[in-house]
């Protein structure tokens, strides 16, 4: 029997970690992820998990310990946010380069300076090219479901890469929402027993992890990572199908919302999708052919699915909750534009930077974006490539 409870995103993350019960969780608390560390520490203190909880002195050491632990042959997890993720940055590449299936929850938060504790995607976007699979969650339920699936994706035979499960700071990390949990044993059965590849603790078969590879081998190493990342799309769908048969909740790399006959559409990551979907319904009531696409998997980037879904649409706004400071918009917008480079038909595309540092975006804001799209279709072009939603003059 599934258990229905009310949980925050952080609580759901901690509960999923408890039910997976990895060998080790090494973590350092940082806003807005702190609750996960606290709750997991309590599970360990109460003897509810056999997991070794390692409260390290920094995020850099949290990821370093996870690397050591995963190489040793353990199933390991951590969580972080913002500056913590930035402080791990160097080690993110080591984790993926060593092909270690580490799972990490990230409660997305803005990066300094100026310091800001609230939700945006600049932390995870900064880590987008680190070789980690990146999944973005919309709700508390998704945090829970995705974290469990992430274990299987990371350890999938064709993938063997670390996975980041991203959820918006405060708007998901601290919001109480309805959560349906799987019965205890089911999660354990679903993730199965971890079979490590070449563990350090296999004393009879000593391995050298992380050697020096120069121009004669480094390139081939990286190419193999590229293939593993490409394989992740199939693995994500495969695991999602299996999870659906268990939970009744079905996920895919990109999610459509009233998109089939849409003329105007918004593309987003994370919790803003809920606001967009609500607004789409209102607009539909008013006779406007609005739709939405949510990118759940940002790494690997599902460009085929995005092209297929959006090519027939007249105008698309890509919602970017991070600035790439390229002078050319946010990271999602730029990648979405690149996805259409070789298509024959493509929509008018507007990059919308919004919500930085936790600035709220509501129904009015989403309506504003749709009306910008309407204007663009009327004029046959977007007025300027990047639109800053809700920015004061």
């Amino acid at each position: 029997m599934a258990i229905r409870v009310a949980y925050t995103g952080n609580g759901a993350c901690a509960q999923a970690m408890r039910q997976v019960e990895p060998h080790m969780v090494a973590a350092y608390p940082i806003t807005p992820q702190t609750e996960v560390v606290e709750e997991f520490a309590q599970f360990a203190a109460d003897g509810k998990v056999k997991t070794k909880f390692l409260p390290v002195e920094s995020e850099h050491s949290a990821m370093s310990a996870c690397i050591g632990g995963a190489a040793a042959g353990g199933r390991v997890m951590t969580t972080t946010a913002s500056q913590g993720l930035a402080y791990m940055w160097e080690m993110l590449f080591v984790a993926s380069g060593l092909r270690l299936p580490i799972v990490m929850g990230v409660a997305n938060r803005a990066l300094s300076a100026p310091i800001n504790i609230h939700g945006d995607h600049s932390d995870a976007m900064g880590a987008r090219d680190s070789g980690w699979v990146q999944l973005y969650c919309k709700t508390v339920q998704e945090v829970y479901d995705t974290l469990i699936q992430a274990v299987r994706i990371a350890e999938h035979g064709d993938v063997h890469l670390p996975v980041m499960v991203c959820y918006d700071g405060f708007s998901v990390s601290h919001s109480l929402m309805d959560l349906e949990m799987l019965p205890e044993g089911q999660v354990k059965d679903f993730v199965g027993r971890f079979t490590p590849r070449h563990p350090l603790l296999d004393i009879a078969n000593p391995v050298t992890y992380g050697p020096l590879a120069l121009y004669d081998f480094y390139f081939e190493y990286k190419r193999q990572q590229v293939e593993a990342m490409a394989n992740a799309l199939d693995a994500i769908n495969e695991v999602a199908e299996e999870f659906a048969s268990l939970s009744g909740r079905r996920y895919s790399a990109v999610e459509h919302y009233r998109l089939d006959d849409a003329e105007l559409a918004l593309v987003s990551l994370g919790s803003t999708a809920s606001t967009i979907e609500y607004t789409v319904d209102r607009l539909r009531d008013e006779g406007i052919a609005a739709g939405a696409l949510r990118i759940r998997t940002f790494r690997p980037f599902p460009q085929d699915a995005i092209r297929e879904a959006l090519s027939p649409v007249k105008a698309v706004a890509v919602m970017d909750r991070a600035e790439s400071l390229s002078g050319w918009g946010g990271p999602v917008g730029i990648e979405a534009k690149a996805a259409f480079y070789e298509t024959e038909t493509r929509p008018l595309l507007l990059d919308v930077v919004y919500g930085l540092g936790g600035r709220d975006v509501g129904i009015d804001g989403i309506r504003e974006v749709f009306s910008e799209l309407k204007k663009a279709t009327d004029n046959g072009k977007v007025p300027e490539p990047v639109y800053y939603l809700g920015l004061r003059d």
């Binding site: 080790m24 390290v56 353990g74 296999d202 004393i203 000593p206």
Partner: protein, 314 residues
């Protein structure tokens, strides 16, 4: 725990020849001595540096023990994870061997950039031995100063010049800093005194909880020495009391090798290009300062060491 040379030399080599370290490099000798002394299976985490670069050029490796390198500053944090998962897998029953854990870093990866990770791992009380090989500079890209570089020594970032007289700042007292963490076993060693070094390795690995060895490592290109004198230099460092051999067991200091006759510091310095400028007459004040510092440190060490425990030279 007597160290038996015959027994050791009959053991299979765990650090193989054919590595790319310099001829006469002290770290190769140190690692051989360390691995000869181990009796349990060991897993090693190695910081970025000469040892890592010189022993693992893919697709080759010199290590016949499980080994991991993750980055420059996190050898201690990496082994924390390995050791923690070992505890979990042992409880689970999927690992049964009695394994020991060693983290290795150079002075740059230990005194400087890795100090935080080391301190964290010591505080958490992991069951591991940290080995710092101290060649008193950042070596694998040349000879830049580190916080372990000696007062007055020449490096490429403390060069000699119209004003520059070498490093104008004292060496960081890392062994004492580690001892201040009140871990059960801390020691200084040098590869010229192999019996002392191997005894300390065995003690460290037998310690429940964290242990630490700071090992002086002669560096041929950096110290501007000939390959064949590296062990001689290592011995002179001890005989001049430049690098005292001692241990701190549960807070009790003990000098493990007390030179019968303390040799003049200049005998140690004159062999090395990095110190040669100190021997010029006009640099006399600098030399005197370094000499005074070495003498003071030695006297302080003797004063805090348990005299009954202090051993004289091998």
């Amino acid at each position: 725990m007597a160290v038996n040379l015959k027994k050791f030399t009959n053991k299979p080599e765990l650090f193989t020849s054919g590595h790319r370290l310099c001829a006469g490099c002290g770290i190769a000798t140190i690692v051989r001595q360390v691995l000869m002394a181990v009796e349990n299976p060991v897993v090693i985490s190695n910081a970025t540096g000469c040892l890592e670069v010189g022993s693992t050029i893919y697709p080759y490796t010199s290590w016949k023990v499980p080994w991991i390198h993750s980055a420059f500053e996190n050898s201690a944090a990496t082994i924390s994870g390995v050791e923690t998962v070992y505890e979990a897998l042992k409880e689970e029953g999927s690992v049964t061997e009695d394994i020991r854990f060693i983290a290795i870093g150079g002075d740059g990866g230990t005194y400087d950039i890795g100090l935080q990770a080391l301190s964290g791992a010591l505080e958490r009380g992991h069951n591991f031995t940290y080995i710092c090989y101290d060649n008193e500079a950042y070596m694998n890209t040349g000879m830049q100063r580190s916080s372990a570089s000696a007062y007055g020594s020449w490096t490429t970032t403390t060069p000699l010049g119209k004003i520059g007289k070498g490093k104008a700042i004292r060496k960081k007292p890392l062994t004492d800093i580690v001892a201040a963490h009140r871990i059960p076993y801390v020691a200084q060693a040098a590869p010229g005194h192999w019996r002392d070094l191997m005894n300390k390795v065995q003690k460290a690995l037998a310690t429940e909880g964290p242990s630490f060895l700071n090992i002086l490592q002669p560096c041929v290109p950096g110290w501007r020495i000939e390959p064949y004198v590296s062990m001689k230099v290592a011995k002179l460092a001890v005989e001049t009391c430049y690098w005292p051999l001692y241990e701190v067991e549960n807070g009790v200091y003990r000098v493990t090798v007390k030179p019968k006759e303390k040799k003049p510091l200049t005998e140690y310095l004159e062999l090395q290009g990095r110190f040669r400028h100190l021997l010029a007459e006009e640099q006399r004040p600098l030399l005197d300062e370094l000499h005074a510092e070495v003498d003071t440190a030695w006297e302080e060490l003797l004063a805090k060491s348990s005299p009954a425990e202090t051993k004289t030279a091998e």
